[in-house]
């Protein structure tokens, strides 16, 4: 894991001091709310419905146990004993008091964390594949790239007042688990077919929200050494030409869409050609210094299959099912990457109590080289677990209510906080997720249905990624009540797609029935081994629309 050097440390401490002073000036009246708002947003402080909210950056979703314990402490001491992991791999506290925020920032700085650039019109926290460094399909660990971009983009003088927020995601694997095509910039590490050199494929102009777009590839193979100069060229074209007159048209996706990917690429390449690459690109020594922090841990030499694990599975079917659903193969024999579900039936997706955070921190320290990850799907990962330790981990997770075997299944729902917390929301999300979870609570039925991603947003801003859900649910207000629009066929992976609307909006209580009907169409129509999304692609939307209309007719 990356460790702060003296510059990082000083930068974060200075920011704490600066924001402490800004809060003091707000409280003594020297700063008006209009003056203070952009300053607090730059430091992750929002005003929500019931209270302030503090968004803490978890760079590329990587945490150590000390950091998670500190988050648990902050949750207990300054909040209500829980936090919410977000679709950008961050953590939000829902109830902090403004007067306490400076102290919280100090506690975060103690463990090399901060809230810088988790809001505002700047380059936000860089996200990455949550299986970085361990996935079998990985070409190169994306975290050194993500860390380099974090350092480059932190308080970058030219890109601190962009037309709008800007999100970058990185993957180094074949399968896209970082939703890179729905980001302003998506980076994929890949090998050049001729030179076999590792390069970046660069996509620009993806995004969800009001105008969902899939990113367009602007460079197929960028040499790694040119990364920062090329990013700078993209940011310059956007910064100069992005719309500042209309916030709904200010994202880079609108610029790419309006002038076309070809013209956008031409402008970026022209800017790139003019830039003095060597003065912008990172010093290779610095790149190597960063990369060294992400060297693999000292794995033991283990047999590929653990007899201990196999015996435990054979004698405990519930454990065997959990292993089957929640673990993925690791690049090192005898190890596995374990996803801990934060989606127990009936809980708010992504919420974890301070007690649960401490339990996971203890497990990470003991069993996973002190490392854990936050996923964009609002779960946690122990990335380096010996297969033989899985049973002990499962038992300890069970005691903390964290042993749900539902990763990637119908109850592993992504959900934004919605109108239960968020000031921007137009409808609630969490109760919809809870109702669907209850409907599909039976574990055998979930496994029978197989991989199915439901994603719920409580407003058009799409923090719940509904556009790229296999089934997407968007909460809106319609004639004074909450109404839910259902989309189908979205995909957040390397086959990225935006879902299509099935029909008119539904009342909240009708949503579980509608999901049930959609699932029934799939179960009746699927061929052997065909997943939900593959089935939707093969048979098209019509049969699902027909079933959906029965829901709306039944409700009428």
């Amino acid at each position: 894991m990356y460790r702060y050097d003296e510059f990082d440390e000083r930068f974060v401490r200075e920011r704490v001091a600066q924001f402490t002073d800004q809060v003091a000036r707000r409280l003594d009246g020297s700063l008006t709310e209009d003056e203070f708002k952009p300053l607090r947003l730059k430091n992750g402080v929002y005003l929500q419905l019931h209270a302030y909210m503090l968004r803490i950056a978890v760079p590329y979703g990587t945490l150590n146990s000390r950091q998670l314990r500190q988050l648990a402490l902050i949750g207990e001491k300054y909040d209500r004993g829980y936090g919410h992991f977000t679709t950008r791999q961050n953590l939000q506290f829902n109830w902090p008091k403004l007067r306490d925020v400076p102290e919280i920032l100090g506690l975060l700085a103690d463990v090399e964390m901060h809230c810088i650039q988790t809001s505002g019109n700047c380059i936000r926290n860089v996200t990455a594949d949550h299986f970085a460094g361990v996935a079998q399909d990985e070409i190169e660990d994306p975290r050194p790239t993500a860390e380099l971009i974090r350092q480059w983009s932190s308080a970058h003088p030219e890109f601190s007042y962009l037309p709008r927020k800007f999100k970058i995601a990185v993957t180094g694997a074949e399968a896209d688990r970082a939703v890179i095509k729905a980001h302003d910039i998506g980076l994929r590490l890949r090998r050049h077919p001729d030179t076999h050199e590792t390069c970046y494929e660069i996509s620009v102009g993806g995004g969800l929200g009001r105008t969902p777009m899939i990113g367009k590839v602007v460079r197929d193979y960028l040499p790694k050494k040119d990364l920062l100069a090329y990013l700078e060229a993209i940011m310059r074209v956007y910064n100069l030409e992005g719309r500042r007159d209309n916030k709904y048209k200010a994202r880079v996706k609108i610029l790419v869409h309006e002038i076309g990917a070809e013209e956008f690429t031409r402008r970026v390449e022209a800017e790139f050609a003019q830039l003095d690459g060597p003065s912008i690109n990172a010093d290779p020594e610095e790149v190597a210094r960063i990369a060294a922090y992400f060297a693999p841990p000292r794995y033991e030499a283990l047999p590929a299959v653990s007899n201990t694990l196999e015996a435990a599975k054979a004698s405990n079917p519930a454990f065997a099912r959990w292993v089957e659903v929640n673990t993925v193969p690791h690049k090192v024999p005898g190890y596995t990457a374990l996803t801990i579900s934060l989606k127990p039936i009936g809980q708010a997706p992504g919420d974890a109590t301070s007690e649960q955070m401490r339990r996971v921190a203890d497990l990470a320290e003991r069993y996973s080289f002190d490392e854990l990850r936050v996923t964009h799907a609002q779960n946690l990962v122990l990335p380096h677990v010996r297969q033989r330790d899985l049973f002990a981990i499962w038992q300890q997770l069970g005691e903390a209510g964290l042993a749900s075997a539902n990763i990637g299944l119908v109850t592993d729902i992504i959900s934004c906080p919605g109108l239960d917390y968020c000031a921007l929301a137009t409808a609630r999300s969490i109760p919809i997720a809870q109702a669907i979870q209850s409907r599909f609570a039976d574990e055998a039925r979930q496994r029978e249905i197989g991989p199915l991603g439901i994603k719920i947003s409580g407003c058009i801003n799409a923090c719940g990624h509904h556009h790229v859900g296999h089934i997407g649910i968007l909460g809106l207000e319609k004639r004074g009540i909450e109404s839910y629009q259902i989309t189908l066929g979205g995909d957040a992976t390397e086959n990225a797609a935006i879902g299509e609307i099935l029909g008119p909006g539904l009342a909240a209580e009708e949503v579980p029935d509608a999901i049930e009907r959609i699932v029934s169409v799939y179960l009746a129509a699927r061929s052997e081994g065909e997943s939900f999304i593959d089935n939707v692609r093969r048979i098209g939307l019509s049969p699902f629309k027909a079933a959906f209309q029965e829901t709306t007719r039944a409700a009428a």
Partner: protein
């Protein structure tokens, strides 16, 4: 709150977030005293006519200027069992707390029983 904005239908109450701690607060009068803030929505002063609404708006403007609260605005209400209840579901949630956590927020009595703010 822009002075020129169209006023919500009456009756209405004035709500805001406390600057220091973010809690939702409501304008009220304690006896014959001046307008002040309370955390208890049941105590909110209900403005039934334009004169009363003007008074709430003037109070909001002064309190925003005085850095006591943020995001102050009038909310139209119905009177249910003698208490004002916002007509819109969004504002109703503001008077209650997160619907998935009945143990938190005003619905759990937070800040209401112990410490009405004067």
């Amino acid at each position: 709150m822009a002075a020129a904005a169209k006023r919500v239908p009456l009756p209405a109450i004035l709500l805001a977030n406390d600057l220091l701690d973010g809690d939702v607060v409501f304008a009220f009068v304690d006896g014959a005293g001046p307008l002040a803030w309370t955390r208890d929505p049941a105590l909110a002063l209900v403005a039934a006519d334009d004169a009363a609404a003007d008074r709430l708006e003037a109070f909001a403007a002064a309190e925003l200027r005085g850095n006591k609260v943020v995001d102050a605005y009038l909310v139209d209400v119905a009177i249910e069992s003698g208490s004002p209840v916002p007509r819109h579901f969004r504002e109703r949630f503001k008077t209650l707390g997160p619907s998935n956590r009945p143990d938190l927020g005003k619905q759990a009595g937070e800040g209401i029983v112990a410490a009405p703010k004067g």
